[in-house]
């Protein structure tokens, strides 16, 4: 703080609290709705304070009655997809960045530009032809089909390249003089020195993977392969009857909890990784 202005500080806090309340309001309403029964959620005005049905709704959701896909299965599918995407992206990016930074080989720049090009082809742009490729490989309704087309990532490769550039050359020379092979150097020096970047990237990519919607919507037709995020849309389209809001909101809560917890508990690493990666 530059100068002491108690009044200005007070106003800042008040406005911030109001602003944060506004941002959190939709989340609050969701939690409240998840704690009431179906009947209460058909009466106007809707409640703004929690009810006592929270555990009952949660139990009902996990009992799986009346759902096309049981929630524990969709949660498992989401977890598998998110982990495959995040771990897969990190692994293939870190080794390709290692090759591009530490080796001299033919077509190095060609490969680099090819990876760069993927930055310009988000899945939303190439959905139809990518869908055809997956269908031709018989990868519809499989974990591989859900995750592999989203795994190649220029951003992660760039970020690792940036990190490797800050590792002193002397370390590599020293390890070479000591007779360590390139892969030995990779595992003993490069990976330990990129630990924080790997962690930050994991948070960002886990959220990216968990929150995928359009792609799982296209490649899964078997309810057993649905992810929890996309199952919400089916619940909203419950035909003629009014949607069952108490269960929809409970599902939404369960579906957004894992990424929220990851972001809150790894906040420091995540914020640093996010704001650094763009520099």
């Amino acid at each position: 703080m530059i100068e002491n202005r108690p009044m200005a500080t007070f106003v800042s806090h008040t406005v911030l609290i109001l602003g944060v309340a506004l941002i959190v309001f939709p989340i609050w309403v969701m939690v409240v709705a998840a704690s009431h029964d179906a009947l209460r959620l058909t009466q106007v005005p809707l409640p703004l304070l929690p009810g006592n049905q929270f555990w009952i709704n949660l139990k009902l959701l996990f009992s799986g009655k009346g759902f096309s896909a049981p929630i524990h299965l969709t949660l498992l599918n989401s977890l598998a997809m998110a982990l495959m995407i995040s771990v897969g992206k990190i692994v293939i990016s870190i080794i390709s960045a290692f090759a591009i930074v530490y080796f001299k080989f033919r077509f190095r720049m060609f490969f680099f530009w090819m990876i760069f090009l993927t930055l310009m082809l988000p899945v939303e742009v190439r959905i139809l032809p990518t869908y055809e490729v997956i269908a031709n490989f018989g990868m519809l309704d499989t974990y591989a089909g859900l995750s592999i087309p989203l795994i190649a990532s220029a951003t992660a490769t760039f970020m690792f390249r940036q990190t490797f550039m800050t590792i002193p050359d002397e370390l590599m020379e020293a390890s070479r003089i000591d007779g360590a092979s390139p892969m030995r150097f990779f595992f003993d020096v490069v990976i330990p020195m990129s630990r924080t970047n790997i962690a930050a990237l994991f948070v960002i990519l886990f959220i990216f993977g968990w929150n995928q919607y359009l792609w799982p919507l296209l490649v899964t037709t078997d309810p057993d392969m649905y992810t929890v995020v996309m199952s919400i849309k089916q619940m909203l389209e419950s035909g003629e009857s009014e949607p069952m809001w108490h269960l929809i909101m409970m599902t939404a809560l369960v579906a957004m909890l894992p990424p929220i917890l990851v972001v809150i508990f790894m906040q420091k690493i995540f914020v640093k990784g996010l704001t650094d990666s763009e520099k």
Binding site: I27, L46, Y102, P129, M183, A255, M256
Partner: protein, 293 residues
């Protein structure tokens, strides 16, 4: 770009880049080439015959009022999302920069929307603004505003803009806070000693100094609004009422998977690809310049 010293093994680097290059070729380059190829084809509705029609699909898009409307709609949508979201985030960041106590709590709460999937964000806002049940229409009714985004296209557009901007506030907030944090304290102190108040300092020092971040965020927000808001629109309006919230990405999906107009959808994909390339080039030009500073 590259280390001064490097290894000279013959096959190892190829093995290391192989997984990424394979995936890139199979799932990025090949589909992109396919999209390009299909955009020159005309296929009948049953997929029985295809005809090479050169630029007919593009010409058709150019003549289609529906498509051109979708273009202006997308531009309006993305600029509104970017402006709303960045405006809020900048405001919060400027305030959070002032206070010391509690800033961690504010940040923790403000980053929550980042972790919420677009389709879930859409569901939350749909619930809040549900015409028959929602809590917001209930209060709007008291001041005699009749809310029904299922019929009123202006209201539908506002709702998807609000939901999309809400989700992006976190990201913008974090970047603005980081940018303000990197401004040397001595500059601000010198201005304060010269008698400049908080607002004056913000306008003449802080805002100009964070302008590179602002520009960067503008590009990122527009890319976000173009491509990452599919789930929000799918949950809230499905492009309706009429086509009033059908942005370009939604139209590619709708024409390709629902309307089964493969050539038209591929032509739209190709146009979108050019837009991404343009935006990425702008973004990288800017990053390059920043590195020189």
């Amino acid at each position: 770009m590259h280390k001064r010293v490097h290894y000279n093994t013959s096959y190892l680097p190829y093995l290391l880049v192989a997984p990424q290059i394979t995936i890139t070729l199979l799932f990025f380059i090949w589909p992109a080439v396919q999209a390009l190829y299909q955009s020159f084809l005309l296929e009948d509705a049953f997929g029985l015959s295809t005809e090479f029609v050169w630029f007919d699909n593009f010409a058709e898009l150019y003549d289609s009022e529906n498509y051109l409307n979708s273009f202006t709609r997308t531009a309006f949508f993305s600029v509104s999302v970017a402006a709303l979201s960045m405006g809020f985030a900048l405001f919060f960041a400027a305030l959070a920069d002032r206070v010391i106590k509690g800033s961690h709590t504010y940040r923790t709460l403000l980053i929550i929307p980042y972790a919420v999937a677009p389709v879930l964000a859409g569901t939350l806002w749909l619930f809040l603004f549900n015409p028959t049940l929602g809590i917001v229409p209930y209060f709007l009714d008291i001041v005699s505003i009749n809310w029904n985004h299922k019929l009123n296209s202006g209201q539908a557009m506002s709702l998807v803009i609000i939901a999309a901007a809400w989700k992006q506030v976190s990201y913008n907030f974090l970047f603005f806070v980081a940018a303000m944090h990197s401004i040397p304290k001595s500059l601000i102190e010198a201005a304060a000693i010269d008698g400049a108040g908080p607002l004056h300092r913000f306008r003449t020092i802080i805002f100009p100094l964070i302008s590179p971040t602002t520009f960067f965020l503008l590009v990122v927000n527009i890319i976000y609004a173009f491509f990452d808001t599919f789930g929000i629109i799918h949950a809230i309006t499905s492009g309706g009422p009429g086509n009033s919230t059908e942005i370009l990405v939604y139209k590619v999906f709708n024409d390709g998977f629902v309307g089964l107009d493969l050539g038209g959808s591929a032509a739209q994909s190709v146009i979108l690809m050019f837009i991404v390339i343009l935006l990425t080039v702008v973004q990288f030009k800017y990053v390059e310049r920043k590195v020189e500073y």
